[in-house]
């Protein structure tokens, strides 16, 4: 139960002024199984299950696309810089190698 696949947290600085470049940090809940690990008890391989694509949209425009391999750690984190020209919705969408797609949005406010 505790896997909580599909959940994510996004952190953006609180006081942003139009034109600021800010660091956006995100944490996604996912096992990021490489497919190389074995179940200790059954000795069977644990099938690969990892996020392979992350897309970030801001104000309806794609601002970043990340392609990931299974080497990205469990409960993956990423950050990047975003130039904020005005308020709007930031949406992160991620897809894993099993084709499951999830997304999370947050409101970016500008002073």
């Amino acid at each position: 139960m505790s896997s909580g696949i599909g959940k994510a947290k996004i952190r953006i600085p609180r006081s942003i002024q139009a034109g600021d470049t800010v660091e956006v940090k995100a944490l996604i809940r996912h096992p990021m199984e490489t497919g190389l690990r074995k179940n200790k008890k059954t000795k069977e391989k644990i099938p690969a299950h990892y996020i392979d694509e992350v897309t970030v949209e801001f104000r309806n425009e794609t601002v970043l696309v990340a392609d990931w391999g299974a080497a990205v750690a469990k409960d993956p984190f990423f950050s990047f810089f975003l130039q904020v020209d005005g308020p709007g919705v930031l949406k992160i969408t991620w897809k894993d190698n099993k084709g499951e797609v999830y997304s999370k949005t947050t409101e970016v406010t500008v002073k």
Partner: protein, 297 residues
Amino acid sequence: MKTRRSNVLLQGVLGLAALAFVASPAMALDLKGYDANKDPGLYKYSENFRGMAEFPPSDGMLEDGKALFNKDRSGQSCATCHGEDGEKLVGASTHYPKYDEKLGKPKLIQHQINSCLTERMGQEALKWEKGEQVMLTTYVKALSNGMPLSIQTDGPMAKFIELGKKAYDERIGHFDIACKHCHNTAAGTNIRAEYMSAPDNTGYANLEAVVAKLPANPERERRLAAGAAIGSGSVDHWPIYRTKWGKLATMQRRLRTCNKNVRAVVHDYGSDYYVNLEAYLGSISNGMEMNVPGFRP
């Protein structure tokens, strides 16, 4: 510039307010998460690791615990008796392990949750160290974040803390080694690539004395230069998210691992042996602020 959790500015204020307004139903519960800046145990890790601790993988897991707390179980939830989101339990976990009159011995939060489930809700006990127990325990502990750990050390508890101390000092296992040998004698040094923490609340207080006892080597110089703390608590920041385990874990798992590492007998989860040890560890961390779930490699 740091990216901050939205409630961080309010934390200091609410930390004080929480003590004064526990009973006030009007006050919405502001659940504080783990605060890396208040964790004296992080100094020994790299700047990069400490950076991760500001946004650890466990961020958001308290919400899972909250959902389990409010989850309907045959018509009742924990909130039915303990208030929305558990607001009436704020502060409760600072006293755990806590003496239980009926049992005639101390119990862990896990025991208490199981007794609420079985005796008051007609449910089955949660399995030890499985996700649901760990999440609920972490949530109930986190309700006291920012409040000082206050385990009873006198009265009926004195005897059990004494037993815990005895277990802590006793040589055990194939390696014939006691907890204190790794965690006090060797505190601040490396054992198999892991920095040994001293689970007490001395913090920076007796730093010089402890460092003075370390053999003169570059490690000692480095630690002195870093202004390292030695006693970094224990019960106050457990359960933790350990990167090695990739999930939240309670101190029960830690203690069993410490036993395994010296090839000593591994006792059952929640056994008297571990409860007494937790009580002793807690007693020497008393006064440290609860800061759950901690973050360790």
